[in-house]
Amino acid sequence: MAEVEYHIQMSWKKETDEITERRQLARQQGGLEAIAKHHGKGRLTVRERIDKLLDPQSFEEVGPAAGAASYDDEGKLSKFDPANFVLGFGKIDGRRVVIGGEDFTMKGGSPSPAGLRKSVYAEELAVQFKVPLIRLHEGSGGSVGGKGQSMPAPVNAPARFVSVAEAMATVPVATAALGAVAGLPAGRLVASHFSVMSKTTAQILTAGPAVVARAMGEQKTKEELGGWKVHTKNGTVDNGAEDEEACLKEIRRFLSFMPNNIYQLAPIVDSNDPVERAEEYLLNIVPNDRRKSFDMRQIIEAVCDQTSFFEIGAGYGRSQITGLARLNGQPVGVWANNCKFLAGAMTADGANKARRFMELCETFSLPIISLVDEPGFMIGSQAEKEATIRHGTSTVLTAAMTTVPWASVMVRRSFGVAQAAHYGPEGFILAWPSAESGPLPVEGGVAVAFQREIAAAPDPEKRRLELEHELAAKQSPFPRAEAFGVHDLIDPRQTRLQLCLWVDRIQPLLPTLLGPARFSIRP
């Protein structure tokens, strides 16, 4: 009788060795050559980016075994291509986040079947675990034809973008464009509360140069189509940063103001900036001459905790300034007019920027500080073409629907319908002596309302100036304060103290705001 050989496996060593081997292969990403080429273009790999952003040794990878394996004739593993989206948990300043990004060294970041599954899972994980989501983008969308195309999703598959929208309504989402980002990743990039792009390595493209040339006959480089100069000015991304590392620093900074989710309040930090700090220059910063402009950012610096102001979207909608800051350690949203740009008027893009900013504050229960110098909606033919009245009114109604506490400081002008956007329901209102308010600025109003009287005067120009002067006096804040139209009329130097006291008073209100907001934010 022939001897039968039995091979009884005594352990799972062979399999665990293969797991180790697959892990090693996965960490090699697209291979040494592809990584060297990527580095040669001055770009980091997705794993390097993740390591740089997270606290040391804090990355807990999700799905490292996902990918495509090949076997030789003997059934032994010959090749393993990891999913080209790296995903996991990690910590930033000790707080857990979900983080993920495309691996450009494999298929140029265009999703492999496993890569797509992992990338879709990023939002779902963040919503499930209620932690902030960070996506570091570099890659394109799907490609036509080729091998390994996944089957179309079945009709009963969950709607693709529900989790993306839910993430935006549940947890802070911060994204960075670190290389060329096109198609689906570009859509996901902007589906965020804060986005930043590298000025040296990134472009954002709905479609790249080849597709554009074919469809539109336009010959443009990636940079011309979607470089930082284009997208920081049109609001596609919030901020531009010099390089990849600077982008990662901006994400850390943004998250420092944010709660983990809508069910928690933003973290209050110890502030060593005295609440009584009163900057003398505030007494003179607003010129008496109404034609002269001033630097609103200096007021923000004087009022908020020192160096805490983090501006969001400085490059677009520039008549409005928006950002996050702290008052005695409490994170707040800050919105102010910039009279150095189109007199601070509410343009269509400025209105959109402000609306989105209010939605951010409402989603995460951040109090809003509004420094008002609003001359009204932007006027003129360009403004009419841009549907300024529609976008502006949308912003006004957004303010009206907010539930977060507001403190508005009337710094100078507060005119027209547009001014209503700068005051929240039941808001706390302070006025500086330089405040003036009314249906429209004196200069424009006098020219219209007293047209005949001015024309009939012996010296029309002199009469116009007299009328302007008379009416400007009526727009002074004193009558408004007498009528209890403001909570108080204050010395500008006392603004910081007053706002810090207000922040202390609203503390019992903030926990009552937690949970889903009445309305959420859209990109």
Partner: protein
């Protein structure tokens, strides 16, 4: 060479420097009038005004090149 470009349209209310003038960082080069508001443009660095492309009283467009300053 430093190029001073206009952030917005408006009209040139006062042109304070001319070709060949020496300027110091922070000097006002010209003042635009935009929506009844004066918007001064300052020299970002010391240098000499190389070219002036705007004219007092004329309307100007966003992104228009206004002045070039040579820094050496």
């Amino acid at each position: 060479m430093i190029k001073i470009e206009l952030e917005t349209g408006g009209s040139v209310w006062k042109l304070l420097k001319k070709t060949g003038d020496q300027v110091k960082a922070g000097d006002t080069l010209f003042i635009l009038e935009v929506m009844k508001m004066e918007v001064p443009y300052e020299a970002p660095a010391d240098g000499e005004v190389e070219s002036v492309y705007i004219v007092e009283g004329e309307t100007v467009e966003e992104d228009q090149l206004a002045i070039e300053i040579s820094t050496r």
